[in-house]
């Protein structure tokens, strides 16, 4: 009985902290329509700042707390709203997801850079004080946490319902433009809600840090707990959000207390939040199709079949020449780059073409690798079966959220990635705790590809094949449908397309591509383990895909090489390892609104060079192919209209579209529509 009370008290304590975090998340989301995936990461950074102030610099606890909660956190929140998140809410969900994922990665990079890994402790508040309730010791810290949660709840209620700015906050949820017309200032409302939101993330982080430890990743994952609680409140109701936080805290505490301490179930206690999240998502009501949102589209050019095949053959030949006589260690790097490029290719399909964001592509690769190693059938059949299993798992992840829209899909992929990372990949039937599995290299036509160079070339060949296949799909029925779905989901629905199953299929196909990459990777390395497919790896992957161009196969090639270079650069320059993450984050934030990325810059300069020097070069070397008749050689498919800026003139609806037209352009359309 007394242990039950102890678990209850512990659950109420952590639930109170989750509720505080969740209310901040809900506040920011409802007032600005930006779901901040970096919410937990901001709390993590603020906890480090608190440690820095109170322990390293030796400030009194209260002063440090005051500085963090009322100066540093609000300032950072304001800065983010002013310079990073502004206007994201009106754009497609995929852009705001990428930007906040970049924030998350940037926070982790900054924290590791400023506070390199070492042992740090933050003591609970009033550590030596406690009271005894029904025979159970309740620490002052726990009481303070619950009281603070109540104070936050009351404070937010008063702010939203009893003050002018609170009324403006609630009004800006409904229509920021209208609020502006009536003299309200949506920008200052947004800045205030980001300031408060960051402060609440900081408070939650600081309250939990004595419990979970000053860890870059553990506190970052707090966003899943907060998100689960916030979803419990349907991202609207603060009382329900608090109830959700408390429920989550209690379930977590009881599962820690009463689940068996060995076997798979013993680890379930670590993944209560993702499980809770899935349960809440399944219970969410169906979201309705929305009509009439003005968005524009810019898509990277789609090369013709012959052109994509010749570029593919070119890539193959160049790699073949480049890798000839290369040392095995370097060959492994090239193979890794090919793996990453293939995983990015799966993002080209899902994000670049489909407008959906997945934060678990590496996990799907891990599923493929696991299946390949477990099947122990190193031939084409085993390879494709492994990819098929990954595709099935991907479809299974999308299944609970098929009724819902992009944001929920993305967040449930994050929850899924954490679930796999912390629970299933480490289970005995998978890689085992800290263990690895052996995987043999692929056999083609009955002969095993033993040399590393040969194997790398097989991987490149697979990449080229999937890339060409993807472009064929893009130019055909599937590509047309994907564009149509992005342009107007409502029209697709009323024409008879069941988008829910289409989305599941798309997600499965993308996961299958990632799984294929993972399976090939397993063969390349010979041994694979859970450590190769940690949840966090999918985040820089997404960011680099966006930076290099998530709408083109070229972008995937460049992104794969870039991602392969990242750990190399980090180990070559350990003193600035964290800065690389910050750099990627900044680049992704800068380029998130143009997902064609660096690849498109290359296309543009290629066209420019061709126009400038093409004639002379062709005159000098007559065997070169003549210049195509127009810049886009895509027949009558105008979405391939190259870098020319096309955008919707009419009221198109693109829930997941990667590009927004600027406000001025929208205005111009309204004017021309007359």
């Amino acid at each position: 009985m007394s242990s039950f009370i102890a678990y209850t008290i512990f659950g109420l304590f952590s639930g109170a902290a989750y509720a505080i975090a969740a209310s901040g998340l809900t506040l920011t989301y409802t007032t600005t329509r930006v779901f901040n995936i970096a919410h937990g990461a901001l709390g993590m950074v603020m906890s480090f700042v608190f440690w820095d102030f109170s322990v390293r610099q030796g400030m009194p606890t209260l002063l440090a707390l005051f500085l963090v909660l009322f100066v540093v956190a609000p300032a950072i929140g304001w800065f983010i709203q002013r310079f990073i998140a502004r206007g994201l809410g009106e754009g497609p969900v995929s852009v705001s997801l990428v930007v906040t994922v970049a924030l998350l990665v940037g926070c982790i990079g900054a924290a590791t850079q400023i506070w390199p890994p070492e042992s740090r402790t933050v003591l609970p508040f009033m550590v030596e004080r406690s009271v005894t309730v029904a025979g159970t010791n309740v620490s002052a810290h726990q009481i303070i946490t619950v009281l603070l949660a109540v104070a936050v709840a009351v404070g937010l209620y008063l702010l939203l319902n009893r003050t002018r700015i609170g009324t403006a906050m609630r009004a800006s949820v409904d229509n920021p433009e209208l609020l502006k017309l009536f003299g309200g200032k949506p920008e200052s409302v947004a800045a205030l809600s980001w300031a408060i939101g960051t402060s609440l993330a900081a408070l939650a982080g600081i309250l939990l840090v004595s419990q979970v430890g000053l860890d870059y990743y553990a506190l970052t994952l707090l966003v899943i707990n907060a998100y689960a609680a916030a979803l419990f409140g349907r991202l609207k109701s603060l009382p329900l959000t608090f109830a959700g936080g408390m429920a989550l805290g209690l379930i977590e505490a009881y599962s820690k207390g009463y689940l068996p301490t060995d076997g798979l179930l013993s680890k379930v206690g670590n993944v209560i939040a993702p499980l809770f999240l899935f349960a809440v998502i399944v219970l969410m009501p169906q979201s309705q199709l929305r009509i009439g949102q003005v968005k524009g589209i810019v898509t990277a050019p789609v090369p013709s079949f012959t052109k994509s095949v010749s570029w593919g053959v070119g890539l193959f030949v160049v790699t073949l020449l480049f890798t000839a006589g290369m040392a095995d260690a370097d060959l492994l790097l090239i193979g890794t780059a090919a793996t990453y490029a293939m995983v990015m290719l799966s993002l080209v399909l899902l994000t670049g073409y489909g407008g959906h964001v997945s934060l678990a592509q590496f996990t799907f690769a891990g599923v493929g690798a696991l299946a390949y190693a477990k099947l122990d059938a190193p031939n084409l059949g085993g390879l494709f079966l492994a990819a098929l299993i990954a595709a099935g798992v991907g479809a299974l992840v999308a299944l609970p959220v098929i009724r819902l829209t992009g944001l929920y899909l993305a967040l449930s992929t994050l929850a899924f990635a954490v679930l796999m990372d912390k629970l299933l990949f480490q289970a005995d039937f998978a890689f085992g705790f800290g263990g690895t599995l052996d995987a043999e290299r692929l056999s083609l036509l009955g002969r095993q590809v033993e040399s590393t160079q040969g194997y790398v070339m097989v991987m490149v060949a697979f990449f080229v094949l999937t890339g060409v296949l993807l472009l064929v799909l893009r130019r055909g029925v599937l590509g047309r449908l994907l564009i149509a779905m992005r342009d107007s989901p409502a029209a697709c629905g009323t024409l008879g397309l069941d988008m829910r199953w289409f989305r599941v299929g798309l997600f499965g196909l993308s996961a299958g591509m990632a799984g294929l990459a993972g399976a090939l990777f397993a063969g390349l390395r010979g041994t694979v383990g859970a450590a190769d497919f940690q949840f966090f790896a999918s985040l820089p992957l997404l960011l680099l895909a966006v930076v290099f161009g998530v709408t083109s196969v070229t972008g995937a090639v460049l992104g794969g090489i870039g991602l392969m270079q990242l750990p190399v650069l980090q180990s070559d320059h350990p003193s600035i390892g964290g800065l690389f993450f910050v750099f990627i984050a900044v680049a992704a934030i800068a380029l998130a609104r143009d997902p064609n990325g660096i690849a498109n810059v290359l296309f543009k300069s290629g066209h420019w060079l061709d126009r400038r020097y093409g004639t002379q070069v062709r005159a000098a070397i007559p065997i070169l192919p003549t210049r195509p008749p127009s810049r886009d050689d895509s027949g009558d498919s105008p979405d391939a209209g190259g870098p020319g800026h096309h955008h919707g003139e009419h009221g198109h609806s693109h829930a997941g579209d990667p590009v927004v037209v600027t406000q001025e352009e929208v205005g111009a359309h309204v004017a021309t529509r007359g």
């Binding site: 107007s488 009419h650 198109h652």
Partner: protein, 280 residues
């Protein structure tokens, strides 16, 4: 049995009732108009019929089957198609590819038969926008885009066409041609429900008209009857220009219990002092 029956549909947004007990029926082979002032609930009715909006109460029957809780795409598969007041053309595809996508969707993705270019072009020809076939749908004029939405609907050979302000953006000649097209489509046995503000088109093309005001049907009938209906005129103009707002011989003749007041009537004279006294 009518093709479509809307039964006592109520739609409430928070405290606002957008559609209030609307009930009407659409027959195959006829053009039916749904008219009413702005904000009368016409587009909300369309959304309820096509499944984009769940009604708070009431039912929608299509070909005798209750489709009230059926998903958008399944209604489409049963033969409903609609256009949108705020255009929903696939802006980054060509006009031709817009129709192709509609074909692909209606045939099912597993369908082996892809529409030939000439099939698609014949459809564009029919609605009169063949010259725009190769242009991006977001670069064509609004009126043309509306016709494109119609062509896209026709790619699925629908039994019921729901057209939301199809003629806005069309000039006079185009509107005339459009009216003829509607008659042709109805003659093929399709039911057509059209929300439209161009009264000449509505009166000229429709077999039947329902008038919606504040979410309720206030009048139904053929164009002549609706045009003459004083309630309709009041809804549109705020007053009725045919005869008094209150029809003759309603109150005076029915309320026989009231005293008749004329020159001979003597009214009681009130003494102000007495009133003061009484109220003190």
């Amino acid at each position: 049995m009518s093709l479509l029956e809307v039964e006592h549909v109520v739609v409430q947004f928070g405290g606002v009732t957008a559609v209030n007990e609307a009930a009407f029926a659409i027959d195959a082979g006829r053009v039916t108009g749904l008219i009413g002032p702005n904000g009368a609930g016409k587009t909300t009715c369309f959304n309820v019929i096509s499944g984009l909006q769940r009604p708070t109460r009431g039912k929608v029957h299509f070909e005798g089957k209750n489709v009230t809780r059926m998903g958008v795409h399944r209604r489409a598969k049963r033969g409903m198609a609609r256009t949108f007041q705020r255009l929903e053309a696939f802006g980054s595809l060509t006009v031709r590819d817009n129709v192709r996508v509609a074909h692909d969707i209606s045939q099912g993705l597993g369908g082996i038969v892809r529409p030939s270019k000439s099939d698609v072009d014949a459809l564009l020809e029919r609605v009169g926008i063949a010259e725009y076939a190769a242009e991006r749908a977001d670069s064509i004029p609004t009126g043309t885009a509306r016709l494109l939405e119609l062509a896209r609907c026709l790619a699925g050979d629908p039994k019921l066409l729901l057209l939301d302000e199809p003629s806005s953006g069309l000039d006079e000649t185009e509107t005339d041609a459009f009216g003829e097209l509607l008659r042709d489509l109805a003659a093929e046995g399709r039911g057509i429900l059209m929300v439209e503000h161009d009264m000449d088109l509505v009166m000229g093309v429709c077999d039947e008209i329902h008038v919606l005001d504040f979410g309720s049907i206030i009048a139904s009938g053929d164009p002549a009857a609706v045009r003459a209906n004083p309630l309709v005129q009041k809804a549109y103009l705020g007053y009725s220009d045919e005869g008094p707002a209150v029809p003759e011989g309603s109150i005076e003749e029915t309320r026989t219990d009231l005293p008749v007041i004329d020159e001979t009537t003597t009214l009681p004279v009130v003494d102000p002092a007495a009133v003061q006294e009484a109220t003190r």
